[in-house]
């Protein structure tokens, strides 16, 4: 008797739960496709495609660092920070060569290949599997004037005699960062590998104390440090120079290009914050470096 009364109730509850919880998951599963999942010696890497966007995800959670590319329009910046990094060309429009530390899916080299063919690009990626997956799933290819070294970014800069107009650092996870590339000694090495008006461009998350420590450390090495803040993400870009040719907020004005492919450089330039709120933090050095602890402090 009791059973006959309770069963329809349970069925209704089950249907409601299915509608509430089950349906969205099913929808996500339908729209998202996992193309690859595996481990390298550095990362757990997943490649997923949602609609026309294909992403390389590092770590085991979807909210961790990812690098995405629009398959039909590979030069379109899916994330805000990748477009922001190109403001480097508003400070030094006649850039001849760039060193990029951190390849990911190869979005940045793709923009260089399609829209900046005159600029030599030296990419440095520590993880051989990332390089292989970028080639297999993101159509990454070395263009003329492009080179790739599979090694640690700091070790590459230490050994190369070459000087660069821009050094871009995009090697940090949201949950783990290579601490040896946050220190004053590393930035001094970058400075030594820059041309006279050369700049360092680094992507950082601004939602933790590491951001404050990074800006403080940059300021201890470079005379000019500029912060660009994302408007719809927690990403910031730190740009640093000894002698900037065209400094914010004026940049190179009308004298230089306002777009690189679909990237609106003028719009990205407006994200410059002349008075960023930086909390007091100690300078990070090879000797004092709690970078990964600061990363987890809000």
């Amino acid at each position: 008797m009791n059973k006959s009364i309770h069963m329809p109730c349970l069925c209704r509850i089950a249907i409601i739960l299915f509608l509430l919880i089950g349906t969205p998951k099913a929808a996500i599963a339908e729209s998202e496709k996992t193309l690859y999942e595996g481990d390298s010696i550095y990362n757990h890497i997943t490649i997923r495609q949602a609609g026309t966007n294909r992403c390389m995800i590092f770590g085991r959670h979807r909210d961790q660092r990812q690098t995405c590319m629009s398959i039909p329009r590979p030069d379109e910046s899916v994330f805000e920070y990748t477009a922001m990094m190109f403001v480097g060309f508003r400070l030094l429009p006649d850039t001849r060569n760039v060193c990029l530390i951190g390849l990911g899916g190869g979005y940045i080299p793709t923009v260089f290949r399609m829209h900046l063919p005159q600029v030599r690009l030296q990419s440095v990626e520590v993880d051989p599997l990332v390089v292989r997956l970028a080639k297999e799933h993101f159509s990454f290819q070395l263009a003329a004037g492009h080179a790739l070294s599979v090694t640690d970014g700091r070790q590459y800069l230490r050994r190369t005699p070459e000087k660069f107009d821009q050094i871009w650092i995009d090697a940090f996870n949201s949950d783990y960062i290579p601490a040896h590339m946050t220190t004053r000694e590393f930035l001094e090495l970058c400075r030594a590998r820059l041309t006279r008006n050369g700049i360092v461009v680094q992507n950082v998350h601004n939602s933790n104390q590491l951001f404050d420590a990074q800006v403080t450390t940059f300021r201890s090495v470079f005379r000019y440090v500029y912060v660009f803040e994302g408007t719809n993400s927690s990403n910031s870009i730190i740009v640093a120079a000894r002698e900037p040719l065209y400094a914010p907020p004026r940049f190179c004005g009308e004298q230089c290009r306002s777009r690189i492919g679909p990237i609106d450089l003028v719009r990205e330039s407006r994200k410059f914050n002349p008075t960023p709120a930086i909390r007091k933090e100690r300078i990070l050095t090879d000797d004092f470096n709690p970078a990964n602890l600061l990363l987890n402090r809000k």
């Binding site: 550095y42 070790q155 050994r159 601490a179 040896h180 050095t285 000797d287």
Partner: protein
């Protein structure tokens, strides 16, 4: 014998803690020169394992030969002095190696062994040496071995967590390493001052 047990407990806990603290810190010492990859951790762990292995054999051998506790604690004091100099040694040593060995695995292995072979090998002798000495006294090693390993491992647990979660956040690595050296030196000299050979000799009637 209470003083002997206390002194041995102090050595086991302290050196267990310092060994693991140095192991954690060595990644900070290596990464500026050889990168922060899993290779570095491979070099660190495998180097320490080799140092442990040699230290265990030597510690057991010294106990079998009834090596005096005073001489043994003197050896520990020498290893502590070596640790005190690691902050001065590590940059020139790592630069020298990194300039000559391109492969980060070989480079970090070489650097780890130059910096840590001597102190870690000696520190690893503590557990087998104390097990051997106390076995002479008790004529039974089962409970002794268990307690010795418990204290040493407890020290390792404290050293690992204290270093990774707090000390790296509070102090420069060079100061932590130097601090560990001073702690080891103080513990060694303190135990040396207890003149344990006489107490153990009287208690066990064995010649030490």
């Amino acid at each position: 014998m209470v003083l002997v047990y206390l002194a041995f407990a102090l050595l086991l806990f302290m050196f267990g803690a310092v060994i693991m603290s140095l192991e954690i810190l060595s990644s900070n010492l290596m990464s500026p020169y050889f990168g922060g990859s899993v290779y570095i951790w491979g070099s660190i762990i495998s180097s320490f394992m080799v140092h442990f292995s040699i230290g265990y054999v030597l510690g057991g051998y010294l106990a079998k030969r009834a090596f005096k506790v005073s001489l043994f604690t003197f050896l520990l004091a020498v290893s502590a002095v070596w640790v005190l100099f690691i902050p001065q040694m590590h940059a020139p040593a790592c630069n020298f190696i990194a300039d000559r060995i391109v492969d980060v695995r070989a480079g970090s292995l070489a650097a780890m062994n130059i910096l840590f072979f001597f102190p870690i090998t000696i520190m690893a002798m503590v557990s087998p040496y104390i097990i051997g000495i106390l076995t002479h006294y008790h004529r039974d090693s089962s409970w002794t071995a268990g307690l010795v390993l418990f204290l040493s491992t407890l020290g390792s647990f404290v050293g690992t967590n204290l270093t990774a979660f707090f000390l790296i956040d509070w102090f420069p690595v060079s100061r932590i390493v130097a601090g560990l050296g001073w702690i080891c030196l103080a513990a060694s000299l303190l135990v040396l001052s207890f003149r344990l050979d006489r107490k153990l000799g009287r208690a066990s009637r064995i010649r030490l």
